[in-house]
Amino acid sequence: MSALFEVRNLRKSFGGLVVTNDVSLAMAPGDRVALIGPNGAGKTTFVNLVAGNLRPDSGHVFLGGEDVTRLKAAKRVRRGLIRSFQVTRLFQDMTPEEHVALAILQRERQAGKMFGHYSGKPEVMDEVRKILDRLGLIELSHLKVREIAYGQQRLLEIALAMALRPRMLLLDEPAAGVPQSETTRIEQALNSLPPDLAVLMIDHDMDLVFRFARRVVVLAAGTVIFDGSPKDVTQDQRVREAYLGNYANAGSTA
């Protein structure tokens, strides 16, 4: 059986600097994978390559058996490969309700309609309310994004991803910039994601990673140096060295 999502020998370099070096990874429906690594390991570049915001120098990305390497970002989204952003990318002058409605309409290929208003579509409004409610944003649905707190903006990022009904979800540091006290909400949201969805989450917060992921992939200097269960990761020699800044030595002996 072929994987839902697979990356084969992905490579990308900027100038002489190799940021993604021969990375391969496969995921099945329902997988919860965390991608971790020290600063500058190339995690965000990897997400950008997978999502189609960057073009790889070589290698392939497959989704549901289809090679999507040549497809533009928007087309990958329409096939169910959805991403969130490390720094929220939201429309400052629109409300959460509008955000989610737009995502739903886009998913249903109705966003090109040049008349009517989403509030006139009960099925859209129901879903909008359901999603906002689930994430505790319903109280804020008519405020402009610039008026709501950052933690709530992060939740809205997740809401948008959910509204797009992903098959494969890339979460780029979903809790970045949010105070510890508020991460609970975000974690709840992550736990309530549909079970058959494959999720690849990037994060620094090890507590969150260990609670969420059933598999951990460690990236260092653009290379996968570990792929296994959360309990093994802290024991791994190379991972320790990577985080302790000794990777160069370890690499030469390996």
Partner: protein
């Protein structure tokens, strides 16, 4: 901070009346009322008012791409001029002089010009985009100058004799027909645009202006949104051009000029980008100013227009409408 969240359920179930109002009924009413006031206040100056209406259509069309989608252009008159020449050539060379048909032809040629300039201008962003738009308008201008057999070249295209509207209302010296025809066009276009900017597509366009990457991450193609908007914008500008051709019965190269493009941009920013009201208010204020000042002292009005622009940037940076609306909503919030 969270005052407005109390009535979300009622707001979500917008009543039909409210939706109609949001759909532009108030705006349409305002156009009709202001139009009627203009008619009775300046019954002998309808030609200027008609011209204002035609230019308002151009500025509205510019607002669609600049205000709603964030495209920087100094070449938007290409769309207006294409509409004007389209309608004019249809009348002068092909005998299509029924005003509604001429308007339709203008809208079509305007859209075609929108498609062409969109394809070129959307290849870059920011400053490079401005320069592309300048190149486009100069190419259009030069092309019309060269094709003088069709366009009359620099002498202008004359011989446009529009028939009476519905065979009843003649376009004459006093310009009532032209004015009312223009006002009806403006109202119809306004309502249509009001529906458009509130539609899912309108939301998508605003999204493109604010964050292209997010729009892509929602699965929409930025360029396709922009190009479609450009075509619509072309139709609106083309209707404006056709109105100009019908009401003045002549089309000149100035309708495809950099100057007109720049003036339209100035009017839009003056009124406030990203709002249909801003576009219309900017047009009205600028043209009224220009007309009054140049009648009082044709020799030095440019200085005063310049000073006005500087004053707007300093004291009303979001444009006249944008800044007033912002002020009013701050006042309200202060009380609430």
């Amino acid at each position: 901070m969270t005052v407005a969240s109390t009535d979300h359920s009622s707001a979500a179930n917008l009543s039909i009346a409210r939706r109609l109002a949001d759909g532009g009924l108030i705006g349409a009413l305002a156009i009709v009322v202001i139009g009627a006031i203009g008619y009775y206040l300046f019954p002998n100056n309808l030609a200027l008012l008609t011209r204002m209406t035609a230019i308002a259509l151009l500025v509205l069309s510019l607002d669609l791409v600049t205000g709603y989608c964030g495209v920087a252009t100094l070449g938007h008159a290409a769309l207006f001029g294409a509409g004007a020449y389209g309608a004019g050539i249809a009348a002068a060379h092909f005998g299509i002089s029924e005003p509604l048909t001429m308007t339709l032809v203008g809208a079509l040629t305007g859209s075609a010009a929108g498609l062409v300039s969109g394809v070129v201008i959307l290849r870059a962003h920011g400053l490079a985009q401005l320069v592309l738009s300048i190149a486009v308008i100069h190419l259009f201008h030069e092309a019309a100058n060269k094709a003088s057999a069709w366009t009359g070249g620099s002498d202008g295209l004359s011989g446009i004799m529009p028939e009476a509207v519905f065979g009843l209302f003649e376009f004459d010296l006093w310009g009532q027909t032209a004015y009312i025809y223009g006002l009806v066009l403006l109202t119809v276009v306004f309502v249509a645009l009001r529906i458009l900017v509130r539609s899912p597509f309108g939301m998508l366009a605003r999204g493109v202006r604010e964050d292209r990457i997010r729009i892509t991450a929602m699965g929409a193609s930025v360029n396709s949104v922009l190009l479609r908007m450009y075509v619509i914008s072309g139709a609106v500008a083309g209707i404006g051009g056709a109105l100009s051709a019908i009401s003045t019965q002549v089309v000149g190269l100035d309708s495809l000029s950099f100057t007109l493009s720049a003036e339209a941009l100035v009017m839009l920013v003056l009124g406030g980008t990203g709002s249909l009201y801003g576009a219309m208010i900017g047009t009205m204020v600028f043209m009224w100013f220009e007309d009054t000042l140049s009648a009082i002292n044709p020799f030095h009005w440019l200085t005063i227009i310049g000073a006005l622009l500087v004053a707007v940037v300093l004291f009303a940076p979001k444009g006249l409408y944008g800044s007033t609306a912002g002020f009013v909503s701050r006042l309200r919030r202060g009380r609430g």
